[in-house]
């Protein structure tokens, strides 16, 4: 482990990504707009990416880079599908308030 390669202590990176991750979590729970929810999810994933890159740097292992690359790819695909679903939901209801999308329950 080469923590010295980092500009600041490792703890700071971990804490930073955790905070961003938590903000993303809060966004998912608090917002009713599915688009913002998707964005919050992007925040969470990016927090993870940051962590990957940090550790890749620390361990001098570019597997973290590859992983982050894959995550970005998947995130793109996921965002595309998510937006498509939002669109079809919107088509059916003319709104996308997630609190209103609650036919299924029990």
């Amino acid at each position: 482990m080469h923590e010295s390669l980092l500009p600041v202590a490792l703890v700071n990176y971990i804490s930073l990504s955790l905070v961003i991750f938590l903000i993303g979590v809060a966004g998912v729970v608090l917002r009713r707009n599915p688009l913002v929810m998707l964005m919050s999810i992007e925040l969470m994933w990016n927090a993870a990416n940051l962590l990957f890159l940090t550790f890749a740097r620390v361990w001098l292992n570019n597997a973290g880079h590859i992983f982050a690359f894959l995550v970005i790819t998947v995130a793109a695909a996921e965002a595309a599908i998510g937006l498509a679903i939002v669109v079809v939901v919107f088509r059916a209801r003319q709104n996308v308030d997630v609190d209103e999308v609650a036919i299924l329950k029990g």
């Binding site: 979590v25 998912v28 729970v29 608090l30 917002r31 009713r32 929810m37 997630v98 609190d99 999308v101 609650a102 036919i103 299924l104 329950k105 029990g106």
Partner: protein, 662 residues
């Protein structure tokens, strides 16, 4: 000494004849009832007759001796491992066999006439034969379990016959009562058997009696539990209440089962287990006490009855009390002797009363009788002899046997029992003579208004009406049976009521010799009061009782205003006697009602609402928990997200702690 009584093993085909021919008769009557019709009676009587003859033939083997053994023992089969069945005919069982088949035969014969007009005559004889078979099983068994089997089967036969007119609710109720109380006795014997099996390791009389003290420390309790059986069967206190009710059955049934044979099974049991009783002083005291009290109590109740059969029933109870007292205190021979004579005179009394009842179209209340001497002379003379016998009139059968019993109590050191016996003798004289006088003397009161003789209308009338309805005459003829069919047996029994006692006079009598080897011999200290004095006192009591009865019911004056007197007496009888010491009410209150309440409580409330309720609670809890689980399923996306995040947070806390503490 005590192992003398067990028979000589061997093969005795005659025993099977005695034992199984009645069963065959029962099966035939049952199977071919519709075809046989009245011939069922002939068939049934014939079966018992054959059995009786066989018993006579078997006299020799029953009294044979071989070394220490007396009688005949026929092994049958292994019922269960360790439970070997066999038949035993020794003097004691022979006496019972004689009474069962002999008196039984007469009663069968009588029944042919008595049941002439009844539709179900074949069924009747089937039951009757079955009863004889069961009773023979009881007395011929050489072990306790076989005895118990017979014990139960006679109870069943009694149940069938009491409830013979099963469309009559009172008969049905009486039958059930008799059966249930008898089952109490059965379980008593059962428990005794547990002790015997456990302690003695065998159920055969021979093995158990060989060493009664093997049962220690349970010997006394064995006797107690055996006696519970005896008490139930023989209508001893406190299990006596079924006997009067059992008079709901046809009169021949009362004569055979509830007077002559079955109810004396208790006497047989105690006599059979004489070695046990001899070995346990406490048991003697207990059984003697119960017997004496029953004798007195039964006699007192006899004072307050007006139904002819019920009076006889209470007298039966009282007389069996004597017998039990006799065998209980150790005077086995005396007790058995009283059984022997009692069988004749009591059967005679019942059959005689049956003739009267038949004559009066099922009227049983003696207040509505009177003057029957002319209408039923056979009954008058036969019953006369029998009444004299039962009250112990010198020279009649009962005189000899009862005397032995009363003196036996004294001889064995129970002075108070002796006194009670004497007192009871007086009371007996009174109420039996009252019965006789009121029934046979004076003028016929049957046409009078029942209320005029003190009968509470609704009770008497309903009983009579139902009795009327029960006889369902044959469609083809309403004719009565030939009179001799009923008269002859009564006459024969009347004769024996007089004559049966003469074989038992004195210490060297044939009777005493016959039982010489059957019962344990004891050397007793000489009694303080001699036998002669006892006899004298007994006769004195008899005279006093008889005199009062005569004065009240038989003088010309008394006969003239009989209705008014009867009415007055009916109204002034002590309530405690009319209500039978409140004993039925007490049982109702303490046993029956609580059981029913408990049953209702359990069945209506506890089971469905508590035991099942707990289960239902579990189910409801499940439903509730199911609702709880589903209540998280609000359909709200954000709520779901929150739940997931919450779960993740819980995980995170756990892992943070685990990771940190490691």
């Amino acid at each position: 000494m005590s192992n003398h009584i067990m028979g000589v093993p061997g093969s005795y085909p005659i025993l099977f004849v005695i034992w199984l021919v009645p069963l065959l008769g029962a099966v035939l009557c049952w199977a071919f009832g519709p075809q046989l019709k009245r011939f069922a009676g002939v068939l049934g009587s014939a079966a018992i007759g054959i059995s009786f003859i066989a018993a006579l033939v078997a006299w020799g083997i029953a009294t044979q001796t071989s070394g220490a053994q007396t009688g005949a023992q026929q092994p049958l089969f292994t019922w269960l491992q360790g439970f070997d069945f066999g038949l035993l005919l020794d003097p004691l069982s022979l006496i019972w066999v004689f009474i069962i088949t002999g008196v039984g035969f007469l009663i069968h014969l009588y029944s042919v006439g008595y049941m002439w007009n009844d539709n179900a005559v074949a069924r009747f004889f089937a039951y009757l034969n079955f009863f004889v078979f069961a009773m023979l099983t009881l007395v011929l068994s050489d072990n306790f379990v076989g005895l118990l089997v017979g014990w139960g089967l006679v109870g069943l036969a009694s149940y069938f016959l009491i409830g013979f007119w099963f469309f009559k609710p009172s008969a049905v109720a009486a039958a059930r009562k008799a059966f249930v109380i008898n089952v109490v006795g059965d379980v008593g014997i059962m428990f005794a058997i547990f002790i015997i099996v456990t302690k003695a390791g065998s159920i055969r009389f021979a093995d158990v009696f060989a060493n009664p003290h093997a049962l220690d420390p349970w010997l006394f309790w064995t006797c107690v539990f055996l006696f519970i059986g005896a008490a139930a069967k023989s209508a001893q206190l406190p299990l006596h209440t079924w006997l009067p009710d059992a008079m709901e059955g046809p009169t021949p049934v009362s004569a055979l089962i509830h007077a002559a044979t079955m109810v004396t099974a208790g006497v047989y049991l105690v006599a059979r287990c004489a070695p046990l009783w001899s070995a346990s002083q406490d048991a003697q005291t207990l059984v003697g006490t119960v017997g004496a009290l029953t004798a007195l109590a039964g006699a007192l109740l006899g004072l307050a009855q007006w139904d002819i059969k019920r009076i006889l029933a209470y007298s039966t109870m009282s007389q069996i009390g004597y017998m039990i007292m006799g065998v209980g205190v150790g005077a086995f021979s005396a007790g058995v002797a009283h059984f022997f004579t009692h069988a004749f005179f009591k059967a005679c009394l019942f059959l005689g009363s049956g003739i009267i009842i038949h004559e009066l179209a099922d009227e049983q209340d003696i207040r509505l009788m009177g003057g029957m001497r002319k209408r039923t002379p056979v009954a008058f003379w036969a019953m006369g002899a029998a009444v004299l016998a039962i009250i112990g009139f010198p020279g009649f059968a009962g005189y000899f046997s009862k005397d032995q019993v009363i003196f036996g109590a004294l001889e064995h050191g129970y002075v108070w029992m002796w006194a009670v016996g004497l007192l009871t003798a007086g009371i007996t004289a009174y109420y039996m003579l009252r019965l006789f006088f009121v029934t046979f003397l004076g003028s016929y009161r049957g046409e009078m208004n029942p209320a005029d003789v003190g009968i509470q209308t609704q009770v008497a009338a309903s009983a009579a009406t139902i009795a009327h309805e029960t006889h369902e005459p044959h469609a083809e003829d309403h004719a009565h049976a030939p009179a001799w069919i009923m008269a002859v047996p009564v006459a024969i029994l009347g004769f024996f009521s007089f004559a049966a006692g003469y074989i038992m006079i004195g210490p060297g009598s044939p009777w005493a010799q016959f039982f010489d080897r059957s019962f344990p011999h004891e050397t007793l200290p000489p009694a303080t009061i001699s036998e002669g004095v006892t006899t004298g006192l007994a006769v004195l009591m008899l005279v006093i009782g008889g005199a009062i009865a005569y004065q009240r019911y038989a003088t010309r004056q008394a006969l003239a205003d009989a209705p008014a007197r009867l009415k007055r007496e009916s109204e002034t009888l002590p309530a405690i006697l009319v209500r039978l010491y409140y004993w039925d009410d007490l049982i109702e209150l303490l046993v029956v009602r609580p059981s029913q309440r408990l049953g209702e409580f359990f069945g209506r409330w506890f089971d469905p609402h508590f035991v099942d309720g707990v289960v239902r609670e579990v189910v409801l809890t499940n439903r509730f928990l199911g609702t709880l689980v589903r209540s998280f399923q609000t359909g709200l996306l954000r709520a779901y997200a929150l739940i997931i995040v919450f779960g993740a947070a819980c995980f995170a806390v756990y892992y943070a702690l685990e990771g940190a503490l490691r």
